[in-house]
Symmetry: none
Subunit: 248 residues, 2 copies
């Protein structure tokens, strides 16, 4: 990208891209230091520096005497929210709510950003966005509402069937097609009284609050998607972890 970047970072970018797009699948060997110096015409310092950075990110790992290889779990951008799960403490139930039948309905439409979303996406008030409303159900009962906003530049050219169930091309897939990679995820959580529409949609008893999550995906220091996620406050908790779950 930026040819002003130091050489070793450009090597990092190149290899990372190859890992992301599958050219270098998990387990594949990375060229050795000697090979990298020849291939890119760089010094050994830059080559080993690039390998160190990639290894530090966990994308590859090195074996002394053997070589560097692509990690099994590419461990994408980690905001380890261990998903929602039910009930309040004390709850001994193990985390993964398995066996549940989860469904998701959604509908996309073209809309104007508006001041709130414009600020979150760092775009103009008048800019157009693709707004997608989701409703998640577990075992048939509504569990989560979400509204997602993406600048139309990311969604243009992709078919937007206005209705469907779970066959929409994912955000990540669409972004990587545009050469973008999500580097950060920020979630802002607060609690509030549900709006009437939410109360109906989530079938909330009166007096129940909701947890509201504003989530924004960033790629290269620029927002690419933001969403409002609403879940019933009496049945869900959010779990965040600094790394892979220690309980797993």
């Amino acid at each position: 990208m930026a040819s002003s970047d130091p050489i070793y970072l450009r090597i990092v970018e190149d290899i990372r891209r190859q890992i992301n797009d599958g050219t270098l699948p998990p387990g594949a060997p990375i060229p050795s230091r000697a090979q990298l110096t020849r291939k890119y015409g760089i010094g050994e310092t830059a080559a080993r520096h690039a390998l160190r950075v990639l290894a530090g990110e966990g994308l590859i790992f090195g074996l002394v005497g053997s070589g560097h290889y692509v990690s099994e779990k590419p461990e994408r951008t980690a905001l380890h929210r261990l998903r929602f799960h039910d009930s309040h403490p004390p709850f001994a139930a193990d985390l993964p709510p398995q066996g549940r039948r989860a469904t998701c309905d959604w509908r996309s439409e073209n809309a104007q950003a508006g001041p709130d979303i414009a600020m979150r996406l760092r775009i103009d008030d008048q800019a157009r966005v693709t707004r997608t409303r989701y409703i998640f159900r577990t075992d048939g009962s509504p569990a989560q509402l979400a509204v997602s906003y993406e600048p139309t530049e990311f969604t243009d050219g992709h078919q937007i069937p206005s209705e469907g169930t779970d066959n929409r091309k994912s955000l990540m897939a669409r972004l990587s097609a545009l050469g973008l990679k999500v580097t950060d995820i920020v979630e802002s959580v607060y609690t509030r009284v549900p709006k009437p529409a939410e109360r109906d949609a989530l079938e909330l008893p009166s007096g129940v609050h909701v947890l509201h999550i504003e989530r924004t995906h960033w790629a290269a220091d620029r927002p690419v998607e933001t969403s409002d996620i609403v879940v019933p406050g009496d049945r869900f908790r959010l779990v965040y972890a600094s790394s892979t779950p220690p309980t797993a």
Copy 2:
């Protein structure tokens, strides 16, 4: 410590220790590469390598032409919760709530774990823990309640003055003295109606919910501290990020 470690890691250990125990307070300058090579009798590679590792951990930061300095926020094992902050959306206020006068009162005591905490700390029901109650205030008004639990084995031997203001040795400092390092932080968030005592302590208007955070620190796959944190639901939001804040 382990004299089998590579030299640069031993330098890292030494500097990290000095930062942890306060010998190098936030803002203090780290010896330059040239000084480190002389002080420890090492090559420049090892010196710069140590600085790189520390900077990578966020413990220090480098300014070209000036030097390396201890970070203001030691940025412990990163669960990047960008702290609480006020008001609800839309809020354009920038994140760092500066200029505020934050105080913290606390009181420690010896207590029995009980089933709930015992499960979270993976210890016996009957085991003894050090329980510390905190109350945080900003600008004089109560903002956050917290109760922290640590197995007594981590607190024994450390003076536990039963009352005080903000001079207690930090969890990290005590753990590092025991050779332990916090590797994971897990936070579980939900919302609920405040208990009467909480309503009083936080001066909550009626009808306001609270955000309840159960936080557990892990060191080497074993819990070393867990706490319940309660904040008013009408004035605070929690922000989690997958890496350093992109807005900063």
